[in-house]
């Protein structure tokens, strides 16, 4: 009797991990609560002596990227039964099944001078098969983080069937100093807060940078002239030019068109703010809204046919959608409070926004017809959402209350889960998430 019971127990224990995954390794990202996929990353093999550090660093970064999504959970190395000593050695799947690692990522790193190569294989442990084929990335030793991000993107993509977002950069406003004399300068960082580089000095206020679709240029608002004006900055050489604005006019809240050739933005004159479009090559302007109210924060749909923007034409800030050529607009926000800074999702199905209601600020998303509004955050002051390249994560600014208030950037899944601060040594605001790098 006891023996039979033991047998059953053993069978249950063995069956346990099997039940965690039926069929091939696949995670469908939904808005429901998900059970994270478990994964193991034995430290990547150093194929040359000089690759030791990079191999260790890159493996850790892959873990950090994947675990950081909240969709994957690391099985720590202390639980490992077998070790991976060589990239080509056959995998003892039973040893990884026994510790319930659903995915196994094996990699190797080579360093020659300042050249770095990383290759990896992804295994579906429970089906005992490789998922996709081995892949190799080459770069420089200084760019080792990008190599790690690329491995993590490939793993994420193979398991979820969606594009990743780790090898991407964010342009933002770096902040220092007290609230009444805040110094602001444009900066760029990796999506995870690493490799911060400054693009301007802090001699004048800069606001709300926006990446071009290919990530090569940035539009932002500068007070260099004493008046808000739109500047265009080349990321590679930080050369900049001011978009021509007539005296007496203020131009701000710019965004690129999807082909990167045009700018949609707000122009204020005589107390009235409307939305315009300018062709960067010819300088030709088109006025897209004609209301006496404030129309600002325009954002194009992915197919370029429509613009979502905010307007106070109803008496307070609400969201509207119109044709990219202007004309009649339809209101899409109808909840309590005020809605601003709409941003069309890369997939085209959602609009992210800032909502202000009852003394609190929220980042939220709604469908483009205004239905299924969902608030993802709540704080004293959250604002300015930007989408990850795959449309799964939103980054935004959060300012804390009071005389000592400071601004930081946070990210949150569109499910509302996995809220976390972007680790940076100083204040930061106004993120704009760029594309996956080539």
């Amino acid at each position: 009797m006891i023996k039979r019971l033991l047998t059953v127990l053993v069978a249950l224990v063995l069956a346990g991990p099997m039940m965690a995954q039926s069929g091939p390794l696949r995670l469908t990202i939904t808005d429901g609560v998900i059970e994270p996929i478990t994964f193991a990353v034995p430290s990547f093999e150093a194929e040359t002596p000089a690759a030791q550090q990079a191999a260790s660093d890159i493996s850790r970064l892959v873990v950090q990227d994947l675990a950081g999504t909240g969709l994957f959970r690391e099985v720590p190395a202390t639980a490992f039964i077998s070790q991976i000593s060589s990239f080509v050695q056959p995998v003892a799947f039973a040893d990884w099944r026994a510790i319930n690692a659903q995915a196994l990522i094996v990699g190797a790193v080579t360093v020659n001078g300042d050249q770095l190569t990383v290759k990896f294989r992804l295994y579906d442990v429970f089906s005992g098969q490789e998922l996709g084929q081995g892949l190799q990335f080459a770069g420089t030793t200084a760019g080792w983080r990008r190599m790690g991000h690329k491995v993590a993107d490939a793993v994420y993509s193979r398991i979820t069937g969606e594009g990743g977002y780790f090898d991407s950069r964010v342009v933002f406003v770096s902040e220092a100093g007290p609230k009444d004399n805040r110094q602001k300068r444009l900066a760029i960082m990796d999506f995870d807060g690493a490799n911060v580089q400054f693009l301007t000095d802090s001699s004048s206020i800069v606001l709300a940078p926006r990446f071009s679709p290919s990530g090569d240029r940035v539009l932002y608002t500068s007070f260099e002239s004493g008046f808000p004006r739109i500047n265009l900055l080349n990321v590679a050489n930080v050369g900049r030019q001011e978009l021509s604005t007539a005296p007496g006019e203020m131009a701000f809240s710019p965004r690129f068109s999807r082909d990167g050739r045009q700018v949609i933005y707000s122009l204020s004159n005589g107390g009235n703010t409307d939305i315009y479009r300018t062709d960067l090559a010819t300088g030709q302007h088109v006025r897209l809204t004609q209301a006496p109210s404030i129309e600002t924060a325009p954002s194009l749909s992915p197919d370029g046919s429509q613009i979502v923007f905010e307007s106070d034409r109803s008496g307070n800030q609400q969201l509207y959608i119109m044709s990219a050529n202007g004309g009649e607009a339809r209101r899409i926000s109808f909840g309590e409070g005020r809605y601003g800074t709409p941003v069309w999702s890369p997939r085209g199905d959602l609009v992210a926004f800032t909502k202000q209601n009852a003394g609190r600020f929220h980042i939220g998303v709604m469908r483009t017809d205004g239905s299924e509004e969902r608030l993802l955050t709540s704080s004293f002051l959250d604002e300015g959402p930007t989408w990850s390249p795959n449309g799964r994560v939103i980054m935004f600014s959060r300012e804390t209350q009071g005389a000592g208030g400071t601004s930081s950037m946070y990210s949150v899944d569109i499910s509302g889960r996995n809220l976390k601060a972007v680790p940076l040594p100083s204040g930061a605001s106004d993120p704009s998430w760029g594309p996956l790098q080539p």
């Binding site: 007070f223 004493g226 808000p228 204020s268 905010e310």
Partner: protein, 177 residues
């Protein structure tokens, strides 16, 4: 990855090229005029004359009052604001060598872009009022700092009320933009 070594060099050049406008006065106590705009090289209060000299910018800033305040999310000039602006208009008509940039501001309870537009609305309301009192519109420009330059830093109405303002910042004539 060697990209940003050249960036550092270019930034140094940019820093030294920051523009200044020596003809512009500061706004008095808080120095909010053009703060951070690269244009805050105005003359100090001592050089702006005496507060008891009615022709001095200091008299304008302190005795008349260089700013008017606004209720939440409005750009309506209050009766108290009208009194101040009547004084400003009088001063500007008497001292025809001066121009002004009217800077609109908002409190922190709003999104960045909207507050820029709201600040513009406030500054423009002041401009229109001054023009209605006879000040030539050619002498008045407007700009907005949105919520970027609060003068009071607490997060309650006592501070917000001071930050929802439009400040008339004087400069000598021949101002161009």
């Amino acid at each position: 990855m060697t990209l940003f070594k050249t960036t550092a060099v270019v930034l140094l050049v940019l820093a030294t090229a920051a523009c200044t406008n020596p003809d512009r006065f500061g706004a008095g106590r808080d120095g909010s005029a053009g703060a951070g705009a690269g244009a805050n090289a105005g003359l100090g209060a001592g050089m702006a004359g005496s507060a008891s000299d009615p022709t001095s910018p200091l008299f304008f800033n302190q005795t008349i009052g260089d700013r008017v305040l606004f209720a939440v999310d409005t750009s309506t000039i209050t009766p108290a604001g009208q009194t101040i602006l009547d004084g400003q208009a009088q001063w500007l008509l008497t001292n025809a060598d001066y121009r002004a940039v009217i800077e609109g501001h908002a409190d922190e309870q709003g999104t960045r872009e909207y507050n820029l537009a709201l600040g513009q609305r406030r500054a423009n309301a002041v401009r229109e009022y001054l023009v209605s009192r006879g000040v030539p519109s050619s002498r008045l420009q407007v700009t907005s700092f949105g919520k970027e330059r609060p003068i009071a830093v607490c997060s309650d109405e006592s501070c917000y009320a001071q930050n929802r303002r439009a400040v008339t910042v004087l400069s000598f004539s021949a101002m161009t933009s």
